[in-house]
């Protein structure tokens, strides 16, 4: 890692740039991703079509089934498409291509064909964008054998995970939190890879393990600082990859602390936290000092107004309280 600081947005742009430079088979498409269209509505892909040309970087019509399906076909034909589906809520219009095709084709063909496609998609509450532009469904894709799902929390990981996804021979979903695009951190070395399926211990501590990913990491760090004031030593695990889960890192941590809280922005019920909590209980039944706590959003669509949106999201206090419940 260099001393230079960059944003996650820059890191994603760099990762795509470097992957396209390294491998001619890497192509990019999605709505408005090319420079004549501004290089993405958030400029994440700015400059890439200018550098790599109109053939390799293409803005698409509004037709997610069409262009994700084209990504599946192009991948089978030997390309490594990076396909941007602008927002997580829009993944609902192309679930078939992702779930029935990208995820299953290697298996259904007996390994003859494969879909090395990377899907990028963004979401995140907190911006008053309402019910159809801010929620999260990573649990659906984690429940889909054949898919890999990642979500970075910092620029170096965003770079390294995205490059790992692009190099991976299977379909990967790279989830991006809108609130983190501007988050700055150490710039990665060119070519830096964060291996898929490996979690990161962000902070070591012996009292309780906070297990999270994406924006949850900084939220947990803030909560951990407060908890430290009360003498609670928090260990924070940034999953980085949601599926496949890094059992070893999770279980080793909780074996040590005996306590765990899982935190994600998606609604709590039937979320990723449920899988993690069950696994911990299954493996560490007698080592646990308290039941694993789960935090997520309230069980509703995302509300528009600020006060309701705040009530929808988990709060820092809730993280602190959940940690304290395990310590009680």
């Amino acid at each position: 890692m260099s001393e230079k600081k960059i944003s996650i947005l820059q890191a994603i742009n760099m990762a795509i740039h470097d992957a396209m430079e390294a491998d001619d088979q890497v192509i990019l498409f999605g709505e408005d991703v090319a420079d004549p269209e501004g290089g993405g509505v958030y400029q994440v892909t700015r400059g890439l079509s200018t550098t790599f040309g109109d053939m390799r970087v293409r803005s698409t019509p509004i037709s997610e089934q069409g262009f994700v399906g084209a990504g599946v076909g192009a991948a089978i034909g030997g390309m490594r498409p990076i396909v941007e589906v602008m927002m997580v809520n829009f993944l609902t219009v192309c679930m078939d291509q992702i779930v029935n095709h990208a995820a299953k084709i290697r298996f259904m063909s007996g390994g003859q064909t494969s879909v090395p496609m990377t899907l990028r998609s963004m979401s995140g509450a907190g911006f008053s964008t309402g019910g159809q532009h801010s929620d999260w469904t990573e649990a659906w894709f984690a429940h889909t054998p054949g898919m890999k799902v990642v979500m970075p929390s910092n620029p170096a990981d965003a770079y390294g995970l995205l490059r790992a996804c692009i190099e991976d021979d299977d379909p990967c979903l790279h989830l991006e939190h809108m609130a983190l695009y501007s988050a700055r951190g150490a710039a990665p070395e060119k070519g830096h890879i964060v291996p898929l399926g490996k979690a990161n211990i962000v902070q070591e501590g012996g009292d309780v393990s906070l297990i999270t990913y994406g924006k949850g990491v900084s939220d947990c760090q803030a909560a951990a600082a407060k908890l430290a004031e009360d003498g609670v030593n928090v260990e924070i695990i940034d999953l980085r990859t949601i599926s496949p889960l890094d059992n070893d890192t999770i279980l080793n941590s909780v074996a040590k602390t005996g306590r765990a809280v899982v935190v994600h922005e998606a609604v709590r019920n039937f979320g990723v936290g449920a899988e993690i909590s069950s696994r911990i209980h299954e493996h560490l039944f007698s080592d646990l000092k308290a039941p694993v706590q789960r935090l997520g959003a309230a069980e509703s669509p995302v509300p528009f107004s600020k006060p309701l949106e705040e009530a929808y999201l988990y709060s820092q206090q809730q993280i602190i309280d959940a940690a304290k419940v395990t310590l009680a």
Partner: protein, 325 residues
């Protein structure tokens, strides 16, 4: 423009256009001043379309629209107070502050669904029309969407279904030549979206959506057909979007000449002058109408800011008909 409509209709259309325009201006002001936190997908430039459509509608007719559709909602009759309270996220808003600008809903004035997902209002509009066909309630449904939406699957499925089932619905494609930052021809493989109607055995009308009289005629033809059992119509109303995709968008991807030409043809001042020239109203009468509307909006903004936010407990309500423990 040729004269065929009476003064009442003209003034009614103009009033709606002014309401939409001044409301949009004020939204820009409030958001820029930081007094309102809300995305704004301005329809500045597209005022004629909902004005001309809605003067052909009954109050109980249904409208479905999109994130950009505040113009459609206002023209259909959503009260400005309720609208502003919603945009300000207040409990007194149309949706208690739960929906916001992308989901304005006001069944009392027939505004049934506003969606943020491109194309999805098209089958929903067909479904509302289906309910009218069942109930024989005589209603017509208008489903509004953009040019880019004509490339998504829901457009195809919705139009085909409406045609096969001969539903009383009018599909109004407001072609403002851009879908976010993508120019029409980069996303759409045909010159006129209205020609896609032929793929569904449906009449397609290509009309200048900035010409109130032509737009009125197109809407009337389609609405009458739907109401009389003649089935659906696809209207492609040509227009332009002056303020970018979303507030903050500087339209850098639109060639300057194109923007300049469109702005020179801003339908609002043109129509105003035409009304005066053709004796429908005097400059003073229109100025007074505009002032009235301005005051109405002032009052609505003030009202909205004076309202309370919903209690946080409201997150648990309206998820289901009955709260689940």
């Amino acid at each position: 423009m040729s004269e065929t409509l009476d003064t009442n209709t003209h003034l009614s259309m103009y009033r709606k256009m002014v309401l939409v325009k001044l409301n949009d201006d004020r939204l820009h002001t409030e958001i820029r001043a930081g007094r309102l936190i809300s995305p704004l997908y301005s329809a500045r430039g597209q005022e004629v379309i909902p004005a001309a459509v809605s003067v052909n509608l009954q109050p109980e007719d249904y409208v479905v629209t999109i994130y950009r559709g505040i113009h459609d909602s206002l023209a259909k009759g959503v009260p400005v107070n309720d609208l502003w309270a919603e945009l300000a996220g207040r409990a007194a808003g149309t949706c208690k502050g739960k929906g916001g600008p992308m989901h304005i809903t006001h069944p009392k004035t027939g505004v049934m669904v506003t969606t943020g997902i491109v194309g999805s209002g098209i089958p929903i509009g067909a479904g509302l029309a289906l309910s009218s066909a069942f109930k024989k309630d005589g209603r017509v449904t208008i489903s509004n969407f953009g040019d880019g939406a004509s490339n998504i699957g829901s457009f195809h499925e919705g139009l085909n279904l409406a045609s096969v089932w001969n539903l009383p619905v009018v599909f109004v494609c407001q072609n403002n030549r851009y879908a976010e930052h993508t120019a029409y021809s980069k996303g759409t493989s045909i010159e006129r979206i209205s020609d896609r109607a032929a793929a569904y055995g449906m009449p397609g009308i290509h009309v200048d959506g900035n010409d109130p009289i032509a737009m009125h005629a197109a809407a009337k033809e389609a609405i009458d057909r739907a109401r009389n059992g003649g089935g659906p119509t696809l209207i492609e109303a040509m227009t332009f979007r002056f303020c970018g995709h979303i507030i903050g968008d500087d339209s850098h991807y639109i060639p300057e000449a194109e923007m300049a030409e469109a702005q020179a043809n801003d339908p609002l001042p043109q129509y105003r002058q035409w009304l005066i020239d053709n004796g429908h109203a005097s400059d003073e009468e229109l100025a007074s109408m505009e002032a009235d509307i301005g005051n109405q909006i002032d009052a609505a903004v003030e009202y909205a800011y004076s309202c309370d936010y919903a209690d946080p407990i409201e997150v648990k309500r309206d998820v289901y008909a009955h709260e689940i423990a």
